[in-house]
Subunit: 391 residues, 2 copies
């Protein structure tokens, strides 16, 4: 199958590109290095060294495996780029990771919010128009986030909910309560994609993904040049990955507030398998479906304790700090999200274990000389656009 990977240089996009090439698909990866530029701007970097450009990574992959990954360096905001890629490659499936993925980044200030909303919403619109024109039967696999739902006081369903109201009923989009300017873009995208399916008969799977952890897949470990990135800074780092790094370098784990915030989590290996399962089982023309893509729920404090306990096993004394929460979010709340659709398609979860955490410790240990200490503590605050003026 011809599979287009948008954001193919990223944490998930690069391992996904390698995985699909290995499975025998014709893969084309696109990226504009947005994530790399944002790190350069902030003075941060991936723990794992990513020195090679995307073409160089593809070339290293070919050297090691003999398998091809086509690449384009370009910005999906630029219609000429999108049009050319769709016209030339004629994808049968599109995996869309190509967005600015950071909540704190989007909350830095107005410019970052406007950039994030423009970048994510408009590049996805370009993809939808390119599909309608050049690949109307293709399947769009779009990465969304469980963060679109927020923390409602009822069980979260997979994208839609049957509502009974005043003696009637309908199955309608599940209400959303996104928690940052970035999370809002994913909701906007979901609405735009749903519309394109309803009106133009496109087909799409929206993967509302939990927080991904892990550093390695069977491809990244083949050769150091095939590494995927690993972020731990306050802007791009995510809970478990950051905690593992903090444990290794002797930094207290930075729990925001009480740590009662509960979310869905999954292993990077399962993320890639979920995308594969979606592609192997495409929706009908005109169908827009949503899968909640995570394997387990944890509170932030659960994770901190797991890392603390794994640390004990390997002789690291891990301290847990409760920081003043920079975000505006509920710290104690009901949380129960359905996630059976991917299991029904055959997902066999790699659950979180102390063994996995210890193996992450080992990988982090290898690169710990590269750690930049300045950007681990949270700086971006949800309130206070300008100190003292906004509330």
């Amino acid at each position: 199958m011809r599979i287009l990977i948008l954001g193919g240089d990223g944490y998930l996009g690069w391992p996904t590109s390698m995985r699909f090439a290995r499975l025998g698909h014709e893969v084309h990866a696109v990226d504009n290095y947005l994530r790399r530029h944002a790190h350069a701007e902030a003075g941060t970097d991936s723990l794992t060294p990513i020195a090679a450009s995307l073409p160089e990574r593809a070339s290293a992959f070919r050297g090691v495996t003999g398998l091809e990954i086509g690449v384009s360096e370009g910005d999906l905001l630029d219609w000429d780029v999108v049009e050319r890629i769709f016209r030339d490659f004629r994808p049968e499936a599109i995996v869309h990771y190509g967005e600015m993925p950071s909540a704190p980044y989007s909350m830095i200030d107005r410019e970052h919010a406007v950039f994030t909303q423009t970048n994510n919403v408009i590049n996805t619109l370009n993809v939808l128009y390119a599909m309608a024109e050049f690949a109307p039967d293709a399947h769009l696999v779009k990465l969304g986030t469980m963060g679109e739902y927020g923390t409602p006081d009822i069980d979260i369903e997979e994208g839609f909910i049957e509502i009974h109201h005043k003696g009637r009923s309908d199955i309608l989009p599940f209400p959303k309560l996104p928690g940052s300017m970035y999370h809002l873009t994913k909701v906007h995208d979901s609405n735009n994609i749903h519309f394109a399916c309803r009106i133009w008969g496109l087909r799409s799977t929206d993967l509302n993904q939990g927080v991904v952890y892990g550093i390695e897949t069977e491809d990244t470990t083949l050769d150091e040049r095939l590494n995927t990135r690993f972020d731990y800074d306050e802007v791009f780092g995510t809970a478990l990955n950051r905690f593992c790094l903090q444990a290794v370098i002797g930094h207290p784990l930075t729990v925001y507030g009480t740590g009662g915030q509960t979310r869905g989590y999954l292993n990077i290996v399962d993320t890639i398998r979920c995308v594969e399962l979606a592609i192997l089982n495409p929706p009908e023309a005109g169908e827009y479906r949503v899968f909640n893509q995570f394997t387990e729920q944890f509170s932030v404090l659960d994770l901190a304790r797991l890392v603390q306990s794994a640390g004990k096993q390997v002789g690291i004394d891990v301290r847990v700090d409760h920081l003043d929460n920079p975000r505006v979010e509920k710290e104690e709340h009901y949380y129960r999200a359905t996630h059976t659709k991917l299991l029904d398609l055959g997902l066999e979860p790699h659950l979180l274990s102390e063994t996995l955490i210890e193996s992450m410790f080992a990988t982090i240990e290898r690169y710990k000389a590269r750690v930049i200490f300045d950007h681990i503590l949270p700086v971006t605050r949800w309130r206070g656009i300008r100190e003292g003026s906004a509330r």
Copy 2:
């Protein structure tokens, strides 16, 4: 009160500006003539002549009434413009009409969709950041649309719905099924504004407005230079206004499909009163509330028959044509939308009557030499981004 009217040159913005000036408020109107430019681009025009610029209209209003309306010509996408206006005027209330308001315009092609989404979403983001920085206690009265809800098979509530699910319940945003790229922008705006209220403690009323009809308010009739615009073309015209014009010029009424599409409608005089009621009764800090702003429900065919019957009274023989529907929408559907909140605040509706339609006929008669016949029939189709390629 210092009231900022965004989109103050438009069909509703201009009469709202005059009305609030008459009520003794300090009014500042902003516009970038987006609507005028879009008409110039398409070769269409308002039936009522709008020759004067916004400063000239304000000057004519001062000449006739002695009342002041401050004006700025500028684009809300430009942060420098927004920042300057908010810093200098320090509004206590903001009425935001300043968006591209046409569903067909947004569906012309990719460029028009991208422009509409960028313009509406980003200019509203700019307004939210300006409020947080310069006017955190101000009240944002944002014009939304009943079209955000689409046509669900349950009763539509005012912005939020109590959902009972698996033994629990919560009050959550009412699910949305917007029907065009334009309607999607209003949903995106609603989500962004709700977030700004939740996170920064701003206050806002989102007025999900029905289709507005009518040509005149007590201010527009004072002097021809104080006219508001009246659009009847396929891009900017709306159902009842267009039907009245078609009746007067002897054009068959253009009903799309069966005409069973049912929506909420209201008189332009009631629109302005609703905005006033919202401003007089502001929400709490941090509160985001939604009012469904319409007074009566009609199907398109109901309206066509009303116009036909009013025509009979004044000796016009009105023909009704059923055109192949250019839109993708249900033509026969359940529709029942709650709209009690504005009535509870004191709205006394001006209901649609044959008398009102006959008075619209008379005003249209006065200007009928100005009618441009070329752009009455629908051209923009929801399906078919490119003939034969998209579905």
